[in-house]
């Protein structure tokens, strides 16, 4: 154990900002020199590795030559005193304490070849971790101490600014123009439905015709004979229309009680005669 053990224990729960003021631009070594009393800056240490590093720095030797045993003792002493002061330590500080106590026992006890890796190698690895963290802390401090933009060096206060005005040059060719116009013409053409005039016999004319002819026919007469005669070259569809219209005319006249309709069998000729009553 070192002489620092005798120093009065002082607990400082510093806030982060205060830490910055103290720590940032000052190399950690310099700070360690100033600390004659052991200051527990829990927030500043962040974790057990930071505390270990801080303790290691107090040995005032190159981190590579540090005495791991002494370091372990200091750390354990710290945890012990924190416990005595009823200071709540985060669990990871205690986990580290347990691990260090175990490491210390390995280092002090006669060598057990079964234990792999060897305690010396474990100690070396801890040392390497401390070196890495120490290197990064120093690097951070050196970075912060550089000539910084906006603090030590300044850019132009009121730059005119460079502007790139984008100008769009539009292109189009005559074919595209014509194509577009064609598309519009097609799209905007009014939709016209042409209904072709077709020779038909209307229901009205069929009723008139059948009613006129039925007056002369007293006997059953086939519906076909009521159809108008088909002229040569006439549209055959006119005949179909006349048949359909005449049939419907017959039904209509039957409904009116003017004719009677008979059919002997399915698809047999339709027969008409004047209603008897």
């Amino acid at each position: 154990m070192t002489g620092q053990d005798a120093a009065p224990l002082q607990l400082v729960l510093s806030d982060d900002a205060a830490w910055d003021e103290a720590a940032l631009d000052v190399p950690p070594e310099a700070r360690a020199d100033e600390l004659d009393t052991l200051t527990l800056a829990i927030d500043g240490w962040e974790g057990p590795l930071h505390l270990l590093l801080d303790l290691a720095r107090r040995q005032k030797v190159d981190l590579r030559k540090i005495s791991i045993l002494a370091l372990v003792d200091q750390y354990l002493a710290f945890v012990e005193r924190a416990g005595a002061q009823r200071l709540e330590l985060a669990a990871d500080y205690l986990v580290m304490a347990a691990w260090l106590a175990w490491l210390k026992s390995l280092l002090l006890l006669p060598r057990d070849p079964e234990v792999q890796p060897s305690p010396e190698e474990l100690a070396m690895r801890l040392q390497l971790r401390l070196q890495r963290l120490g290197a990064m802390r120093e690097a951070g401090a050196r970075l912060m101490a550089r000539d910084r933009l906006g603090r030590d060096v300044f850019v132009r206060g009121a730059p005119e600014g460079l502007r790139t005005d984008r100008q769009v040059r539009w292109t189009c060719d005559l074919f595209a123009l014509m194509q577009a116009y064609g598309a519009i013409r097609h799209r905007s053409q009014p939709v016209v439905h042409m209904v072709r005039a077709r020779p038909v016999m209307t229901l009205e004319s069929a009723i008139v015709r059948v009613e006129a002819l039925i007056g002369a026919a007293i006997d059953w007469t086939e519906l076909k004979l009521f159809l108008p005669p088909l002229e040569a070259g006439a549209d055959p569809r006119l005949a179909r229309s006349a048949l359909a219209s005449s049939f419907v005319a017959a039904l209509e006249l039957a409904k009116q009680g003017k004719v009677e309709i008979a059919q002997e069998a399915t698809f047999a000729p339709l027969m008409l005669r004047r209603a008897s009553a």
């Binding site: 132009r156 206060g157 005119e160 005005d165 123009l177 439905h193």
Partner: protein
């Protein structure tokens, strides 16, 4: 270059606004800056930037003959969109037309930006207002339009018959006509009779 000149140069460079000799002197702890200002200004004469005095305040600025460097124009070539091409075609064939007329002919709404693009391209101009309800703005083509499309005048625009001959009119109907020839009568009549 002495230390006061260096300080003057740096301070004016970093300043957010032009500074008078007095302000500068105060900023630099009371140094005598007049001679330094003159020396620095002389040093920059003919360079890309210069130190100038406006009123009683000094500041750095770009050399006037290089002012064009501060604003650079970049050209992007872009193809006219379909909507813009259609609008342009309508204006070309039927000018002068209002936006409402363009919309009526296209059968779709035409965004304000579409006409803006055509005017930005320099092919379409506002040709006054149509007398009548709402006095709508009417649009017509420009000489640049004729130049772009290699036309002597608007009369050189292909006519409807030429468009038809080129197969650009009613392409859908043409396909139908072809089918009609091949189909028997009865089938074709079916859907046509109403």
């Amino acid at each position: 270059m002495n230390e006061i000149e260096r300080a003057v140069e740096a301070a004016l460079f970093a300043a957010e606004a032009p500074m008078s000799a007095d302000e500068l002197s105060r900023h630099l702890g009371g140094a005598e800056v007049e001679a330094a200002l003159e020396a620095v200004a002389a040093h920059y004469a003919g360079r890309g930037i210069e130190l100038v005095k406006r009123g009683d305040r000094w500041h750095f600025q770009t050399a006037p003959d290089l002012a064009h460097l501060l604003r650079r124009e970049r050209e992007d070539v872009r193809r006219l969109s379909r909507a813009a091409t259609e609008a342009l075609a309508i204006i070309a064939y039927q000018e002068p037309v209002s936006r409402a007329e363009i919309e009526a002919i296209r059968g779709v709404q035409t965004a304000k930006g579409t006409l803006d693009v055509l005017m930005e391209a320099g092919w379409v101009r506002v040709a006054g207002r149509r007398e009548g309800p709402g006095r709508p703005t009417i649009y017509a083509t420009t000489p640049a339009f004729l130049a772009q499309f290699g036309l002597e005048s608007r009369r050189d625009l292909p006519g409807i018959e030429e468009l038809r001959a080129a197969g650009l009119l009613d392409p859908v109907e043409a396909v139908f006509a072809l089918e009609a020839e091949e189909e028997p009568d009865t089938e074709r009549d079916g859907p046509n009779e109403a």
